[in-house]
Symmetry: C2
Subunit: 404 residues, 2 copies
C-alpha cells in the first residue's frame, strides 16, 4: 500500500529535511563536532543521579513507575512553579504543565493556535526546530533581524504595524531572550520591556523559550519576559535537558491557567502524561540541593570552553571574521568576510578537515546568511575546541584566499 | 490577554472532556476503583528494575542521560523489531520507530493522515482516547458493532462498500484485536484475515493497537494482523506500559519504512526523541530475561484477579446481566438488563457505595450503551475486586428493583 495519496496536506509539505541531511554529513566518526547542541554528561553529577534513581525506585516505585496526571505530578508542578518564582515569575500549579521538553510545549502551542497559512514571528536566525515545527502545521515563519542586543524591536514594531494595517496579525512571537540559539546573544533589558509592551498592545502572545537561561557564564541576569508580563500574554517555556539531562525528556510551560487547561487536552491526545520516574528523580535531586550544585558545575565547565573558543577564533579564524561573545549558553555565531558558502563547504570540512559546524542558513526562515555558522562549545573538550577551530579557521582562510 | 479568539478551529472543537469530568468523580480517596486502566506496580520486579537503572547509569551514563536519535536508539529499535519477529512480524530497524507510548504513535499518525472532516473507523465501543485524539484533528469516528468474536467484519465490509459508492473512503481503521479495551474481547482468527483483506481491497490502512496482546491469560494467541499483512497496509502499535511500566513512556510503531520516515519528521517537530534512560533500562531488563519473567508474573496476577471478578459478577450482579469473558488484558465489559444509565449512577456509586467503574457510553463515538460499563481488574487486589463488585451489584440490583 502506498501512503502517498493518503497523507494530509500538512504532511506533503514536510519533506526529508535539509537538517537531517546536514546531520547525516556531520555524524561521522573521528570528527571534531562543534555542531550539535548536546550537553556534556561529564559535567553532570552522575553518581548522584544514580543515587536519586535508586532512591525513588526503592521508596516510591508505585509513583515512579506508574502513569501520572496529564499535566504532571502536582508536587513536581509546584517544584517547577517555585523555581520560576525564584526568577520573579509568579506562578502556581494552575499555571504550570510538564511536557516532554520545551519543544514539545511549543509543538502543542502550534497545535492549539496555528491555522494553515498563519504567520509566526521569530528572531532571524532562530532555533531550527521551530521553523520545522511551524511548517508541519502549514504555518510560516518571518524572521526579525538581530543586532548585538538581540531582536531589533524597532523592526518588530514596524512589522506588527504593517500587519495590523493589512488586517492579519501574526499568531504569536517566538523568542529566545537568553543566550539565544544559534547566536548566543542576550536580549537587552530595554528591548525586553518593549517586546512585552508590543505583544500586549497588538494582542499577540509571546513565547519565551528559556532553554539556556540558567546557564549564565558572565554578566548579570536580565529579567525574564514572563516576569514583566502584566496581561498574561507571555508564555514561558523551559527544559531540564540543559540543567539535569536530556535523557528523561522533561520541560515545562508556565502560562495562563486557561492555556494550561487547553494544553492538557492536547497532551491527553498525544502521550497522556510526562515521564513519572524522571519527575521524581529531578525533584529529589533538586530538594537535595544537587540541581543548584550541578548548574554551577555546568556553568564552570561551559565558561572555560567558551573562553577557549573565543581565544581560538581570535587566533585561527580569518581576519575580518566577526563572532558573538555569548554571556551564557552553548553557542557562538560567526560571520565570515567575503564570498563563503558555509553549507557548500560543510562536506569538505567533515571529510577533509574532520571538523563540523552547522551552516548558518539552517537557522534562517529564508535560508539566508551563507557566510555564517554556529559553533557549539557544549560537548567538545577544551583541546578539541581549540583543534576544531584551528582546522576550520585554516579551511576558511584557504578558501577565502582562493576566491578572494 | 484572552486566547479565545486566537485558537485554531480544531482547538475550539475540544472542550473540557466528559472523560476528565468522570475521572474527577472517580478520583476520591477511600473508593474501590475498578475504573482506571493502570498496571499494578506490585506485579513488577521492582528490585530488578532498580538494578537495571543503576547499571545503565553506572556503565553508560553518556547514552542513558543524553538525547538519542529521533526514532530511538538503533539497538533498541532492533530489540523491538526482534520481539515482533517472535510473533511472526517480519520487521527491521527501518520499520521501527520508538514513541512515547502507543497513543503517541496514534496521534502522530492522525497528524500525518487526517484532514478536517476525515472519517476514522473503530470498533464500537473503542479506547476512549482514540475518539478524543481524532477530534483534536477535526476528524470523526464511526464505530462498527462488535459481538463475542470482536468487530463485525461483515458490517465493516458494508460500510466500506457504501463509502466507496459515496466516493469518500475512511482514512484508516483502528482496531484492538487482542483483549480489546474496553470489552476484553478477542478478534476471531477468520475475522483477522477478513479485516486485513478488506483493508487491502479498499486501500484503507489498518492501525493494530496491541497494547494488551502479550497479556494472554488463557487460550491460544491469535495471529497479529501485521503478521498476516502482505501489502504493508497494517500499522502495528505497541507499548511497554503494560509489560515493563508506564512511568518511562515508551512504545513503538512497526510499519512501512516510508511511514516511519514521515513519522520521524513529526517526532522531530514534537519532542525530538524518546526517553533514552528508559530504552536502555528496558533493553537491559529484556536481555537479562527479566521482561519475559515479569510478563509471566503479571499474567499470573491478572489471571487470578480476572477469575475473582468473573465469580463476583456471577454472585453479585443482577440476574440478566451479561459480561465478557476476556482471555487476556485488563478489562471486563458488563451489560445490565433494563433501564439503567451507568453514567447517571456513577456519582451515587462513588459517593454512597465507594466503588467506581467507567460508564460504557464514554467508549462509544455516539455515546450510546447507557446500560454498559467497563470493569478493570488490573490494579485492585482480589479482595477489593470482590468487595467492589459486591457493592456495585447491590447498587444496580436496588436500582433495577426500583425502576422495574
Amino acid at each position: 500500500m502506498s501512503f502517498e495519496t493518503l497523507y494530509a496536506d500538512r504532511t506533503r509539505a514536510i519533506k526529508h529535511s535539509d537538517v537531517a541531511r546536514i546531520f547525516a554529513i556531520i555524524e561521522k566518526g573521528d570528527v571534531i563536532s562543534l555542531a550539535g547542541g548536546l550537553p556534556d554528561p561529564n559535567l553532570l553529577y552522575v553518581t548522584e543521579i544514580q543515587e536519586v534513581a535508586a532512591k525513588v525506585l526503592r521508596e516510591i516505585p508505585e509513583q515512579a513507575l506508574q502513569y501520572c496526571p496529564t499535566p504532571g505530578l502536582t508536587q513536581f508542578r509546584e517544584f517547577v512553579a517555585q523555581r520560576a518564582g525564584e526568577r520573579s515569575v509568579l506562578a502556581g500549579v494552575e499555571n504550570t504543565i510538564i511536557t516532554g521538553g520545551a519543544l514539545q510545549a511549543f509543538d502543542y502551542l502550534c497545535r492549539l493556535l496555528l491555522e494553515p497559512g498563519d504567520e509566526v514571528i521569530t528572531e532571524a536566525p532562530t532555533y531550527l526546530a521551530i521553523i520545522h515545527t511551524v511548517k508541519t502545521y502549514s504555518g510560516y515563519t518571518t524572521g526579525v533581524p538581530m543586532d548585538e542586543h538581540g531582536m531589533r524591536t524597532d523592526l518588530l514594531a514596524q512589522i506588527l504595524s504593517d500587519r495590523r494595517e493589512a488586517g492579519k496579525m501574526p499568531k504569536f512571537i517566538y523568542v529566545i531572550p537568553n543566550f539565544h540559539n544559534p547566536t548566543g546573544l542576550t536580549l537587552a533589558a530595554e528591548r525586553r520591556s518593549e517586546l512585552v509592551r508590543l505583544g500586549a498592545e497588538y494582542g499577540v502572545p509571546i513565547i519565551e523559550d528559556d532553554a539556556y537561561g540558567e546557564l549564565q557564564l558572565e554578566g548579570e541576569p536580565q529579567p525574564l519576559l514572563k516576569s514583566l508580563d502584566e496581561t498574561g500574554g507571555v508564555i514561558f517555556l523551559g527544559t531540564f535537558s540543559k540543567i539535569f539531562c536530556p535523557g528523561v525528556r522533561l520541560g515545562w510551560m508556565i502560562a495562563e491557567p486557561e492555556l494550561v487547561q487547553k494544553m492538557i487536552l492536547v497532551k491527553q491526545a498525544n502521550d497522556q502524561c510526562p515521564n513519572s520516574m524522571g519527575q521524581k528523580m529531578i525533584q529529589e535531586f533538586g530538594e537535595k540541593g544537587l540541581l543548584a550544585k550541578q548548574i554551577i558545575k555546568i556553568r564552570h565547565g561551559l565558561g572555560r570552553r567558551r573562553l577557549v573558543m573565543q581565544e581560538a577564533l581570535q587566533k585561527f579564524f580569518p581576519p575580518g571574521t566577526q563572532w558573538t561573545n555569548p554571556q551564557g549558553g552553548y553557542f557562538t555565531w560567526a560571520t565570515l568576510p567575503g564570498a563563503v558558502d558555509t553549507e557548500e563547504l560543510l562536506p569538505t570540512a567533515v571529510d577533509q578537515w574532520r571538523a563540523a559546524y552547522v551552516p548558518g542558513c539552517c537557522f534562517f526562515p529564508d535560508r539566508s546568511g551563507p557566510n555564517t555558522l554556529r559553533l557549539s562549545y557544549s560537548l567538545a573538550t577544551e583541546e578539541a575546541i581549540q583543534e576544531g577551530i584551528s582546522r576550520l579557521g585554516e579551511m576558511f582562510g584557504n578558501h577565502l584566499a582562493q576566491v578572494g
